[in-house]
């Protein structure tokens, strides 16, 4: 049977829009930026989340309250990475010590305690690496984003 292709892309699709716009809402606030699409997808991002709550020499943490909530705690996935300071007036990454401690020494970023409106971010020192571990006042800068469902 011959196949008939229609539309500019050769495929007819329902095209998720609301009032003709694929984006339903978007904005930014003190917790980051967010976009909600008509098909139910939501993306949120914080370009500079500061992790600064001292737990031990092995870790520091912070809670990221989302700029816009997801439908539930099982509906999204998160990625995060260390980043450099945007501006010279941002706080020194490692308080009371010279700069230059590598993110390899600081180790991986932990993400947990998922809820529909927040997640816990932790930074972990690699045992046996250079340096003495985290100290009170240390700050790590993280770029973090999540994508999932808002409806």
């Amino acid at each position: 049977m011959p196949i008939t292709l229609t539309g500019a892309t050769g495929v007819d699709s329902p095209g998720f829009t609301e009032n003709g716009d694929p984006i339903v809402e978007s904005g930014s606030n003190s917790d980051g930026e967010w976009t909600r699409w008509a098909d139910g997808t939501q993306s949120i991002i914080n370009h500079n989340k500061i992790v600064n709550v001292f737990v031990s020499v092995g870790s520091i943490k912070v809670q990221w309250l989302f700029p816009s909530p997801f439908i539930n705690e099982l509906s999204y996935a998160v990625v995060a990475s260390y980043r450099a300071r945007f501006n010279s007036d941002e706080p020194t990454t490692f308080a009371g010590r010279s700069a230059g401690v590598s993110t390899e020494a600081a180790g991986g970023i932990g993400l947990g305690l998922y809820s529909s409106s927040s997640i816990s971010i932790s930074c972990h020192w690699v045992a046996g690496s250079s340096g003495a571990g985290f100290a009170a006042g240390d700050k790590m800068h993280v770029s973090i984003m999540a994508t999932g469902r808002w409806k």
């Binding site: 809402e25 978007s26 904005g27 606030n29 309250l65 989302f66």
Partner: protein
Amino acid sequence: MQINVLATGAAPDYYTFNGETITAHHEGVSEVYDLSDFPEGGTFTGAGQVNGVTALRHVERTGGELKVKLCQQVGAGHWQESGWMDDTSYDPDAINVKQDGSKAYSGTAWAKTRLGRAEA
């Protein structure tokens, strides 16, 4: 007391103040936060929520003066914190945070006050 109201995706509907005590109100539920014992140089590690939403984002005492970061719920649009102000300048019926109208967005910009959603 100095306060700075952050623009956030979830927040109490409004706050009331009495000396160094803050009461957060959310959907008919109220929570009292007595900060009078918060020490100079103390580290804020968090506070209980009011009806499932975070009410206090940060507390510090500098030169004897209490400085607290609160929040106001906002929707679409680009929003920024209020900046530091005396708690007597806080208006529970008004939009205390600031809108940045220079950037494009989709949807209707709003913020929540004691009176409900207020379109910007």
